[in-house]
Symmetry: C2
Subunit: 122 residues, 2 copies
DNA sequence: CTAAACCTTTACGTTGACGTGAAGGTCAAG
DNA sequence: CTTGACCTTCACGTCAACGTAAAGGTTTAG
């Protein structure tokens, strides 16, 4: 598949896919014309990239982690045990983020509750 | 208290506090010298700002919400019921973020589990 | 054969929350 | 009365993940 089709299926843009490639996250083949050619696996990879980006990982961290994620649900790549610490660091960072978000949501919830009470009272 | 002391207690920098003021989030008094003077309440306000920023709210959204947060645990400011919808939008956005983070953490956890198994096996 | 709709690289622009000087006024200790 | 540690207001720099435009080659439908 070509870049626009992959972008459409992944809900993103060609620009983003080229950027991921520039950061070493994707390695599409090239046609004789110079056009990028993506195999179907690429969609899963892009979804993983999006998920990890949304979790606050930067492209450098994703570049380390990505090769450890199995395409076919078999096993980890052999070099990945060495990354266990880095993975744990990122996981803990995510947990901290979740806790902060939960705290902020609690603040908003209290405001919403108070607002609803004030509204119902009049 | 002056700006550096407040910054220290809040774990931030004078620059950030000036930035918050520039965005309308803080209104410190001024001494005759021109120095900013913060009352003790300001620390609570700054902590709320930090919490909401860490939740992904921008300063414009915080500027709307902040006057609704009571300093002394009494009640909401009178204009705040009008903001109920905006508050709900932000809360839902936070919930979405939490879900995404949880998804990414699940991916990392699976990798960590697999890595640990691979390590224990050899 | 041509026009629309793709694709390529190059390169500058955007956004938000600050960091980082620069140039100068203020304050407390010795 | 001076030195060092504060403070002030500009004002430009940073960073990441793209957006956007320019200038040009490729493919496909009619």
């Amino acid at each position: 598949m070509r870049i626009s089709e992959l972008a459409r299926e992944a809900g993103t843009t060609p620009r983003a896919l080229r950027y991921y490639e520039e950061q070493g996250l994707l390695r599409p083949a090239r046609l004789a014309s110079g056009y990028r050619h993506y195999d179907p696996q690429a969609l899963r990879v892009v979804r993983h990239i999006q998920l990890l980006l949304s979790a606050g990982l930067n492209t450098a961290a994703i570049a380390e982690i990505l090769p450890c994620i199995p395409d076919d649900a078999t096993v980890l790549a052999p070099t990945c045990p060495e990354l266990l610490d880095a993975l744990a660091v990122e996981r803990d960072r995510i947990t901290t983020s979740i806790d902060q978000l939960a705290g902020a949501r609690a603040v908003l919830d209290r405001l919403i509750q108070a607002g609803a009470r004030a509204r119902d009272q009049f």
